[in-house]
């Protein structure tokens, strides 16, 4: 059985339900609850309806009816404790380092599910900064004619340079890559690396280039005033399909047709 559930459970049944399933299933509780958190910060949340999700890896999420972010949470590795007290179902999650304690006082449980979630597939993502770096390494003249990349992820005391290389005049070139619009922090980062290299090799032999699809106005101004450069490059997106097994299974789905119908 993939899914077990209790509708409007008796609180004693709920306790057994969680005891039975929490180790290998995602537990979802539709509940009316209050929440107390104390750790890196500290918070309270008064009584309201929320979705509580507890994963077998110790992650815990409490979701309101809005936003992408959980209102309270614990990261993987946290330990779960629970008990019944005064007709409330109380869940406590403890993270050891840093020490953080989260307590859910569930006044009502409307519905509980346990989902034995079998998943052997990982996300295949394309369009990352790393892929920009690979592309530039394979095709350095995307930056400029005569550019030679020498090192990726080159470590210096003030950080990690995305790509270090030399230009056709043998100047050092430091690239800072951003997959999205670059901002002031991106420029600061590049400047920090360039300054270290200038201290080491002399003012006139080090160039810094910010590589990104675009720049904020503030970033552009700072870049200019610091004599740093900008090269517009978009992160590459590889072609992707779902696995063959899948395409076969559902080969009558015509994605273009779906799109036409919807858009």
């Amino acid at each position: 059985m993939k899914v077990h559930f209790l509708h409007k459970p008796d609180i004693k049944n709920l306790e057994n339900f969680i005891k039975k399933h929490a180790s290998d299933s995602i537990i979802i509780l539709l509940s009316r609850c209050s929440v107390i958190y104390d750790g890196r910060a500290k918070s309270t949340l008064n009584e309201g309806d929320r979705v509580v999700m507890i994963k077998p890896d110790g992650s815990l999420l409490i979701h309101k009816n809005k936003k992408r972010e959980p209102v309270n949470w614990q990261p993987p590795g946290s330990s779960i404790f629970y008990k019944v007290e005064n007709k409330n179902f109380i869940i406590k999650s403890i993270r050891k380092k840093p020490r953080e304690v989260l307590e859910i006082i569930a006044h009502k449980i409307y519905h509980a599910c346990a989902f034995r979630c079998e998943d052997y597939e990982e996300l295949n993502l394309t369009g990352s900064e790393e892929e920009m770096a690979d592309m530039i390494f394979k095709n350095p003249k995307l930056i400029e004619e005569g550019f030679s990349p020498l090192s990726k992820e080159y470590q210096i005391p003030t950080g990690i340079i995305d790509i270090l290389g030399k230009d056709k005049n043998n100047n050092w070139v430091i690239l800072e890559l951003k997959r999205r619009r670059a901002d002031l922090q991106s420029v600061s980062q590049l400047k920090r690396y360039v300054e270290y290299f200038k201290n080491k090799y002399g003012e006139k032999r080090v160039r810094g280039i910010l590589v990104a699809p675009s720049l904020t106005t503030g970033a552009l101004n700072l870049l200019k005033s610091e004599n740093l450069e900008f090269k517009k490059i978009n992160p590459p997106k590889k072609d992707q399909t779902l696995s063959k097994k899948l395409s076969k299974k559902y080969n009558t789905i015509n994605k273009t047709a779906i799109l036409d119908e919807w858009l």
Copy 2:
């Protein structure tokens, strides 16, 4: 009725179920699905068991059985479409700006819930950077004797200064606050602000102080070499309780006793 649910629903029933509830309820689907995303980046996720959560504000989350983060998602404001095709239930979420499209191909739906989630309470959080700023404004000698804060969130072309003030010798003092261990980026940020002020008011009349509970080694080295300063301060945590109504309702719960029992 707070909660409606379908166990092993017929796909046609599911369609009606979602049509009926999606506008005012959180929809949770325990499903076996594949996911395609294309937007700022692009991804595929092959068939596996996942929890899908759709909120009335358009947020959409797809959770695997591990980690705090959803494997795929859409932020609030996205539009949901759905339909049945080849015995699959297909959900499409479209975000307009930036344009991002997410498609869930649900091969099986094990269980579906709709939760009319009524929640009028907001999170009360303490221990933020903003509260550090308030504390320093009220009690400036936490920084040093004779420090006078003049402005909070002071905007300059290269960013926003947390606290701008003067010391007892009438030097400008720029504070950069961090609620947690400060790193290289924190130092760069402070340095960026200090450099703007030095250009404006002269080298010797501007000090920069990083205010945080601690520093990484790299941050400390950079701070020293740039003649910036460090002041160790922890973010304050206010006393908090759940609302009176609540404490009254559950006044027999003794939190200390709970802690003793558990820890």
